[in-house]
């Protein structure tokens, strides 16, 4: 009631009374006034504090946006070696759904050897690709044709949306895909408001009528059966308060809701709610926001959702674990149908729609995708990210990291590795394996544990192990560069080396035998140690080896010992892969990399890693080394490959360390390089040579990949001759021990070797001479 005007007389009387009042009463009043002022100040201070809280969350980036890591986009083109089954697998990994009829992006259908695809629009780092409907017709082993289903024109090349392969989540485990207001379908907003807050557009943060109604119903029930919270209050609670039910929390919630409404418009608050609401618990991460929940549960973006799917998501808001459709499908169905009933009552759907939608299956996935299914690869991505990106940046800034990861190769690597490990009874044998495209430097797959999804110690990039004979190709390169040829004769005799500390080193061959005088080629393919130590020490092979290791940043020791010639240096499997990349690529170095681009939330490219191709080693000399590595797989320590893949040429090298503690194989075909290490974490002997262990696993991996036969590129500066691999003389095709070897022009041997063993060949020679 408004205060009435007061008369002058009454004022005088009052002042007289006032003077008559005891001093203590006046003191109390003062104190009360002061207390009220303090209370007001505290209240204002508290409001200011809450205001600051809101400002921090909203104005300075409301949410931590986890950065996303994507696989390489699969380039589809006519002639690509890919089967319909392989593409189907890629589509599943990229969250495409198999349907009977294509009616929305993110779908595909398969009819025998034909796949029709409705691609999603996607912003690649270099261009925006619109959604497209295309038909892919497969031949026996390759894509026969690609056609645009709308224009009926052939499509020459098409990039498939890349699969999401990992996320960098913040410490609190909150995972979300943040969407803008304009990305939230109107239908979803309508359903949400119909269920959670029908007065949203009218109220100012709190809805007194709704609170009174809830109070009355709760009083009648004798317990809390209904909440009177508006959507804004729920948002305030989710953002700033604990779930604990108390009067103080309700008071704070109301204050925060009022402040939120005072500061932001309705669309911003609704979008904030859509992004904030908790919907699923997934291992150690909590899924917030409709966008990510939709991606996880339906493999769909929000604009691809049907009404029934939206109804289910909105229904889950009230009790994410109670209505979890994977754990409690019946409850979830009931809840969804309740929401559909509300939609019917509010006129959003008609009775026929309600009836039809209520009978629809939930349409959710069988199980949620693994949070981080490729931990080894993701570790390397993290390690290779430029230092400009801090852990906080990765957890908060929503970066999109595009990588070279190839899900199909990873699958093949995991299958091959699992098959290979079955060969060994000892379950404590641990692997590290990498597959890389040596022509581009792309790391396409990686495993660092028997259990590939186990996110523990990353052996592939952290376990430094002696590499044994894997060093020999680089040593051979130095020898070739210094004028030796593959046909040069070397001595396999004992050697004793007094080292700088006075100790005497007497290396031995692995088979403890001596093989006398033989060719460098033969010594290399059989991995004889003594000739290489002799060449390294007596003929200056050690210095070039050191220089060549330095050139690829793999020289680990400051003091070099002759034992380096036999691979006493320790490297990770990843570093070995780098060494073999430059060998396989005939001397052209490309730093092995996982990352292609890092893009921010606006689509701006922050980092781009260009293709690299530095000629660090001479091609013609490296081609001779590669020929030696082919010999290893046909006649040498890895001749198992010749038996297993008859007619296919691979190149590679085995490596074994003291007491059989490490079993290595590094090898390549026409495009891919793979390095396999087997060993034990406690450095106990694994009991396997490179040939008996890692080589077999490597073969199992390559069998899965179906790696093509290595074809050496022509090199005009080289000439090819048949050589007797034991005595190094010129030989002929068909003679026993004759091998076709490359030589720098003019450096081939001139002396002829006897054509041993092959009497037919010798007979033919005699006949040729006679006639």
């Amino acid at each position: 009631m408004p205060p009435r005007a007061k008369s002058a007389r009454s004022g005088k009387r009052k002042s007289a009374r006032k003077s008559a009042q005891p001093a203590s009463r006046r003191g109390w009043r003062k104190l009360l006034r002061l207390a009220l002022m303090l209370l007001l100040a505290a209240g204002l201070g508290y409001l200011w504090y809450l205001n600051q809280l809101i400002e921090r969350r909203f104005d300075q980036g409301a949410w931590a946006k986890p950065s996303r890591v994507y696989a390489r986009p699969l380039e589809l083109y006519t002639g690509l070696a890919l089967t319909a089954q392989q593409l189907e697998r890629e589509l599943h990994l990229a969250d495409y759904r198999k349907v009977a009829t294509l009616d929305a992006p993110g779908q595909f259908k398969r009819d025998g050897e034909r796949i029709d695809l409705f691609s999603r629009a996607f912003r690649f780092p270099d261009e925006q690709q619109p959604a497209m409907r295309i038909a892919i017709q497969f031949g026996r082993t390759e894509i026969g044709s690609i056609t645009d289903l709308d224009t009926r024109h052939p499509v020459e090349a098409f990039r498939l949306t890349p699969a999401l392969i990992g996320s960098f989540l913040p410490g609190n485990g909150e995972d979300r895909l943040v969407v803008d207001d304009n990305e939230v379908p109107e239908r979803l907003k309508q359903i949400l408001l119909a269920v959670e807050d029908r007065q949203f557009e009218q109220h100012f943060g709190i809805n007194p009528a709704s609170i009174i109604r809830a109070l009355w119903q709760n009083l009648q029930a004798g317990k809390i059966v209904q909440g009177g919270s508006t959507l804004t209050q729920q948002l305030a609670k989710n953002l700033f308060l604990t779930p604990r039910k108390s009067l103080l929390r309700k008071f704070n919630e109301a204050l925060l809701a009022l402040l939120l409404e005072a500061r932001y418009d309705k669309p911003a608050l609704l979008a904030a709610y859509v992004n904030e609401v908790f919907l699923l618990q997934h291992n150690n991460s909590s899924v917030h926001g409709f966008a990510l929940a939709s991606r996880f549960l339906f493999k769909k973006s929000l604009d691809e959702l049907g009404i029934d799917e939206m109804a289910l998501l909105v229904g889950m808001v009230r009790g994410p674990s109670i209505y979890n459709p994977l754990k409690h499908p019946e409850r979830a169905r009931e809840r969804r149908n309740q929401i559909l009933q509300i939609l019917l009552e509010t006129g959003q759907i008609n009775p026929a729609q309600r009836k039809w939608l209520a009978h629809e299956p939930l349409g959710v996935v069988d199980r949620l995708p693994a949070v981080n299914p490729y931990p080894a690869y993701l570790d390397l991505v993290k390690k290779q990210l430029p230092s400009a990106y801090s852990a906080a940046d990765l957890e908060r800034k929503g970066l999109n990291i595009f990588t070279a990861f190839n899900p199909s190769r990873q699958h093949q690597l995991e299958l091959g590795l699992a098959n290979g490990l079955k060969r060994f009874a000892d379950s404590s044998v641990q692997p590290a394996a990498i597959v890389a495209d040596y022509l581009s430097g792309d790391v396409v797959a990686m495993v660092s544990d028997r259990q590939p999804t186990f996110p523990g110690f990353n052996r592939a990039i952290s376990a430094q192990r002696p590499i044994g004979s894997l060093i020999k190709p680089l040593l051979l390169y130095g020898l070739v560069e210094s004028g030796q040829t593959l046909a040069s004769l070397v001595d396999d005799r004992p050697i004793r080396i007094r080292q700088s500390d006075g100790a005497v080193w007497s290396p031995r061959n692995f088979d403890r035998k001596l093989h006398g005088r033989t060719t460098l080629y033969n010594a290399f393919i059989n991995s004889y140690n003594l000739p290489f130590v002799r060449l390294g020490v007596d003929q200056g092979g050690l210095e070039p080896l050191v220089a060549n290791l330095q050139r690829i940043h793999l020289l680990k020791q400051s003091t070099v010992y002759p034992s380096l010639l036999l691979g006493s240096t320790a490297m990770t499997a990843f570093e070995v892969a780098q060494m073999y990349q430059v060998i396989a690529n005939a001397g052209y170095f490309a730093a092995l990399t996982t990352i292609r681009e890092v893009v921010d939330t606006r689509g701006e490219v922050l980092t781009r890693i260009p293709l690299e191709s530095r000629e660090l080693f001479k091609r013609n000399s490296m081609l001779q080394v590669i020929r030696g590595l082919i010999g290893v797989t046909t006649d040498g320590t890895a001749r198992y490959l010749q038996q297993r893949f008859a007619g296919t040429t691979y190149a590679g090298k085995t490596g074994t360390t003291n007491d059989l503690r490490d079993s290595w194989f590094a090898g390549f075909g026409n495009r891919h390089l793979s390095v396999v290490w087997l060993g034990k974490d406690d450095n106990q002997p694994v009991g396997l040579t490179g040939s008996a262990g890692a080589l077999r696993v490597w073969a199992d991996i390559m069998a899965q990949i179906g790696e093509a036969s290595l074809q050496l590129a022509p090199a005009p500066a080289l000439e090819w001759h048949y050589i007797d691999r034991l005595d190094g003389g010129l030989s002929k095709q068909g003679c026993e021990n004759s091998v076709l070897l490359p030589f720098a022009r003019g450096s081939a041997p001139t002396e002829r070797a006897a054509c041993r063993g092959n009497y037919l060949q010798r007979g033919l020679e005699w006949l040729q001479e006679e006639f």
């Binding site: 022509l439 052209y588 046909t634 008859a646 007619g647 590129a713 022509p714 091998v739």
Partner: protein, 138 residues
Amino acid sequence: MATRGILIRAILVVASLMLVSCAQPSVMQGSAGFRPPAQSSGQQPRTLNSLQRDALAAMQDGDHDRAIQYLQRAIRIEPRNPVNWHYLAQSYRAQYDFARCREMISRSRAYSSYDSILEQANQILAAQCVCKPGERCE
């Protein structure tokens, strides 16, 4: 006597040739499966015209960053196609990145040993990818 000798020699020749031709694969002990590189460009690359076309259009527009993106995509598809590496070198030259230009030329030459026209183009380009005094070079 002479006729008999000729006859024996003829029979021997025919028999030997038949046996050698039958025995040849098993005689290639150890080296079976390995073939020396062909003296002509046996691995004739197939060209993804659309990516190369887009790259050339971007180069014509002076958008060399974009051209490089297209060419890198093309190279990942056909890494042994010397033409793509040559165009990539051209784009780097246009950006005055002569070091990269030379690297890409070297790679193009590795795959174009027997393609005289491309070899000539690579030589001309290599001469242009040398930083001269007073030029802005990277």
